[in-house]
Symmetry: C2
Subunit: 497 residues, 2 copies
């Protein structure tokens, strides 16, 4: 029997720590695993994206471009992969096409191989320019379908979107299930249909593990023809993260499929991160599994966000009303997938609707979404709500690709960067400041101090453990101390108040 | 499309807390969930077994028979299910057939419906009498196949064992994967083959989730024709426990199968146990996933057992040697499945072999295993090692069913129980003492004090949380105190040493 080889993308260096530990992992906690990752036989190594870039300059005083070059050097045999938010690049607004070109060129030059390009609304116009830029560099342009569930989303629609992406030069497609909503049967149906319509197209599948069912979905995806799947080494897996790489390997044993991964290398990678993960425990979420999202369609991150907004308004008890409002707001907006930033935009508007009356006050972002400034939504937007958006924002709706409205901006961005203390004169620095203008200036100033590690040290972990033990004893009963002061000894009893 | 209905056995009340929290859950933490469990639409509710019985009298001062009667009363519409270790009943030795009869009768009388009967060695002779006893009471006798991996275990062997169990009157079969070794393809192959050979036979599948792949195995088992699968409500799932019930429900959506479970009830059950689980946190293992067992064939519990034995001998650094010795010892013993008690017996002998030379010293239990006193092993035992067992133990090997060597013992057991303070005169008490003679006497004495809950109270959890916060502040930097003693105030600075 000849087995079909299933490629694996290891996400430990990017999405795994982004999902599990708020993207805080320092480069020094990754370097020692790189040789094993490089030799394990992965199809690609995901290691760069918006949140890791942001976290580098915001929390870790680390140059993200330098991180990329280090990965390139440490993993010479691997395809390095990144996640690119189309016309947004790694930032939170649309950039003019020239900036997109420059960013893609610089990323390729610094070592990036595979660009997974996506748009939160699945608007192909927001991917088109970035995809073309990647193709021009000779690197791998992967077009992405964000998977979601709504009355408008069906297999046919996903196949159509796949066609658009292939037409714009995608070398492969990614089915991206950021909310762990992809169940086994739909996984099979969507991938089977795309493969039948576009034979020979490489399909990569990215699932989170939050709902507990998506390893089964990967199995069905593979049976339907998927070529590459994303997993995280077991010591960096599960919860809001991803399915464990080793479990995928074992799952396929005896089937018509094999990963061909080197299990000894996987063990070493696992052991490395098993040692690292406890350092970042304070950043971890307690959620191990959550199947509520299938009914509410509200991802965990979005829910906690809305809860904190409500508490700040002294309305913590109204979360149920907000949860019922979310699907209505989503419908009014034409059923966007709920993923950053659309999840925050829809969630915040739902909170406003509950607290102040439906659309009495509209956020600027929600008005922009209703008026087309983020791109085209899957369905028709409710005309009355579009009118309110128009009236409140005093803006007109647009039909064009949002970036078409932008003037060339590279020269201006260069000028802005030049004015900053610590700017090193490179295009990379211009791009860093262009994408994170609120964070980059301070980073440039402090960059020379070198990276800092926000994880705990081994000594700190030990001390905490000892303190916790002592403490749990202290809580249980009184402790007697002898205290000597000015030559006299006093006996003191300490007990919980 | 007509969907095939897949039954579900909920294990939250027995195996889930046995696997996750050392079987410590008190009855009072379960009662409030029972109405929802009873109405959710499960095929059965597993709620009783050896470890829960043991824990009741050892740690919780609770009468296990009373627990059973309470379950019966609280869940009048459900099939109550128990795990019965064949001729061992719930204890650690073989019992004479009359005792087996009595135990089964009393269990049925107190409310048990489904008896899942198993033997650690898969020796059908150890199941036969218990199965017949169940059938005589009119209750459901489920014959169990313990799943394991060895050069001798193959699909054909499992089919043959299935046939034996059906011949002895099994109303259904259970494929029991206590070590999470069942991969998707073997799950499919074994169940498909049994279903083809014995059409119409009900097959239940029990998997643990330790290796992270077994939800996929349940999917494949269902595709191959499995009728009922075991899961635990999500808030009592994963790690060394079981796959989440809600994930199973969602996994099947859109397929040819459905569980028909009531999702609102599942949410309520989940919320109940989400509140209970933190109380027992100190009993939880840190293992979330472990795929090593596929290579080592050494279950997690067995490994930690061997490690602690080695440490006690000041030989903690020799675990690798022991791990390599285990497969050799298992081979010599004829490849028994590694499950309680065979896992401990094989593991301890491997430790002895490494520390003292191969079979220089044999444990009494290992000698018994080699000489047939636990029953028949799947393969031939190494004759030289049988000879050593014979010489060291001064016992002869046996070929007969071990219980055939036992004299009627009910009268003697009754007499023993009568001599105990607090004995209540019932057959149930006789059985309790018969199965746990080292624990029951003390329990009878203290029974009148009523059950105790070894979980933490809400107040304790709050206090610990507050203390941990205060403590983590204390560790980070010096704290200044003003201490007044004898009218004089001293300023004191406290900081970590």
């Amino acid at each position: 029997m000849t087995q079909r080889q299933i490629g694996v993308t290891e996400v430990a260096l990017r999405d795994a720590h982004q999902s599990l530990m708020a993207t805080r992992m320092a480069m020094e906690d990754m370097v020692e695993a790189c040789a094993d990752i490089d030799a394990a036989g992965y199809w690609s190594v995901e290691c760069w994206g918006g949140a890791t870039f942001d976290s580098c300059i915001r929390f870790l005083n680390e140059d993200p471009w330098e991180r990329l070059r280090t990965f390139r050097e440490l993993m010479p045999n691997s395809r390095l992969q990144m996640l690119l938010r189309g016309q947004n690049l790694l930032g939170y607004r649309h950039y003019e096409d020239g900036v997109v070109d420059r960013f893609v060129e610089k990323s390729a030059e610094n070592g990036m191989d595979v660009f997974r390009v996506f748009d939160a609304l699945n608007d192909p116009r927001n991917l088109e320019h970035a995809m073309a830029a990647v193709t021009r560099t000779g690197k791998h342009a992967q077009g992405t379908i964000c998977y979601t569930i709504s009355p408008l989303h069906d297999v046919e629609g996903y196949v159509k979107l796949a066609g658009r992406l292939i037409d714009m030069g995608a070398q492969s497609l990614a089915l991206k299930d950021m909310a762990a909503l992809l169940k086994p049967q739909p996984a099979y149906d969507v991938i089977k249909a795309i493969k039948e319509t576009y034979p020979g197209t490489q399909i990569n599948v990215h699932c989170h593990s939050t709902t507990g069912v998506t390893l089964v979905s990967l199995m069905k995806a593979i049976e339907a023809g998927a070529d590459v799947v994303d997993t995280a080494i077991s010591s960096m897996s599960l919860g809001p993260g991803h399915n464990p790489t080793e479990a995928l390997v074992e799952m396929l044993e005896g089937t018509d499929y094999t990963t061909g991964l080197d299990k000894d290398r996987l063990h070493r990678i696992r052991d490395h991160f098993a040692g690292v993960r406890p350092k970042y425990k304070e950043f971890e979420s307690a959620t191990l599994i959550d199947t509520d999202i299938f009914d509410s369609q509200i991802p965990g991150g979005m829910l906690s966000n809305m809860e904190s907004q409500l508490r700040n308004q002294g309305a913590g008890d109204r979360i149920r009303e907000v949860m019922e409002e979310v699907p209505r707001v989503r419908k009014d907006a034409g059923y966007p997938p709920l993923v950053t930033p659309s999840s925050q935009i829809v969630g915040t508007q739902a909170v406003f609707n509950v607290l102040m009356g439906r659309y009495k006050v509209m956020t600027g972002e929600f008005a922009d979404l209703m008026l087309g400034y983020y791109g085209e939504c899957p369905g028709e937007r409710t005309p009355e709500v579009v009118d309110i958006a128009r009236a409140q924002s005093k803006k007109d709706p647009i039909e064009v690709r949002p970036a078409d409205l932008l003037e060339p901006e590279w020269d201006k961005l260069t000028e802005d960067a030049r004015a900053l203390e610590g700017f090193d004169g490179t295009d990379e620095d211009v791009l860093t400041n262009a994408m994170f203008p609120g964070v980059a200036p301070k980073f440039f100033e402090t960059r020379a101090d070198g990276p800092k590690n926000v994880g705990k040290t081994a000594a700190q972990l030990e001390a905490e453990k000892a303190a916790a033990t002592a403490n749990s004893q202290a809580v249980r009963g009184p402790i007697n101390y002898d205290i000597t002061l000015g030559g006299r000894t006093h006996s003191v009893k300490v007990e919980p108040a």
